[in-house]
Symmetry: C2
Subunit: 221 residues, 2 copies
Amino acid sequence: MNVNNKSFANISMAVIRRLPKYHRYLKELLDKEIYRISSKELSRLIGFTASQIRQDLNCFGGFGQQGYGYNVEELYNEIGKILGLDKTYKLIIIGAGNLGQAIANYTSFEKSGFELLALFDINPKLIGMKIRDIPFRDVDELEQFTLDNHVDIAVVCTPKEFAQGIVDKLNEKNVKGIWNFAPTDLKVPKDIIVENVHLSESLFTLSYLLNEREIENNKQE
Amino acid sequence: MNVNNKSFANISMAVIRRLPKYHRYLKELLDKEIYRISSKELSRLIGFTASQIRQDLNCFGGFGQQGYGYNVEELYNEIGKILGLDKTYKLIIIGAGNLGQAIANYTSFEKSGFELLALFDINPKLIGMKIRDIPFRDVDELEQFTLDNHVDIAVVCTPKEFAQGIVDKLNEKNVKGIWNFAPTDLKVPKDIIVENVHLSESLFTLSYLLNEREIENNKQE
DNA sequence: TAGATTGTTAATCGATTAACAATC
DNA sequence: TAGATTGTTAATCGATTAACAATC
């Protein structure tokens, strides 16, 4: 259930959020047919310090070999397992506007084991249509759907006004996680995990950084 | 150019990334016609400690008043200024698939001063069409466009294979920042600021957390 | 004035980096 | 074996929290 009998529970979020990046870079190495890498080389690629890379990986087990480095394929697979990408997940998308549809069209998620069951929307024009064989359903059916079906991840792409109301209708026992794109913080039962993608927070951060740079440039003049 | 003559340059990214969240919660308070708040009350709402809130805000100046708290409207406006939301920004979207179009349709960004000039795509079916009066243009025109026009933010929504090539064509002098949705790390001249939204990293983090919870639950059995 | 709450310094906590013995 | 590089401990750095004097 876990790697090398180590529990995952004490891993800090800082480490966890670096794992997908390791995974991505290791995939790129594999695609380039590079099968061996040292923490030092990986550091140069990915931008973390070699020390941090070794620390991070050692949270989950000793994947490397002294004097040699890491086997890229093995490390890629192990990190995949740590991320749970060896499992499959049932998804539903709630709010099938452009953003919901964009996510529905990402076949790369499907390749990683994220299987989309349905898209829910209030727009009657959409109901009955399909994206890649996945049906659009009426949001009125949502409550019953999560009573009848196990859903690992509900992807919330509704306007912020509706997000909380929608989430309250999800069956707590059948829905394990929420991937939230609505610009609001959702209140959920403690067993449901929420991962937020707050686009405006990202854009405003960029705006801040552009402004900070501006200030610096003006100083130098 | 900066608030209270303090430079912004030494503010940590941890603080910066919390600013948009303060901004959002203060807006909600204003909408509820709450005009005064203490760090303690704000802490209960937003989930940061009162101490952290006071520390964060003091990076930029003393916005509060002892014994009273903070004036919500004033604080909202000041944080808006700090984030650069009192300015306007010219945007272009590169890659006008579902995701690019989703962003183009977010009128809330426009309300915050982010003005979309054009969407660029390779799909000939799109070229010449419009979203909210904003034209789709051929990506072949991109290079010339950024030579002729000042662009504050280029939003990259292309598949990852094309992202770096596209970015290399942007005129360094006229493009200040990149909001990158392509699942890759872009190499850019040092004057250009990149803010990444890596959706798959977010989804994989959620996957990890679901899995971690699973492990914990199994232990307790 | 008395109570409340900030601004700010000091203490603590956690994350990152450095160093090096272990070992392939 | 000698060289390379990990795994891991210790040192450093930075961020968060606690505490409290200042003051509205």
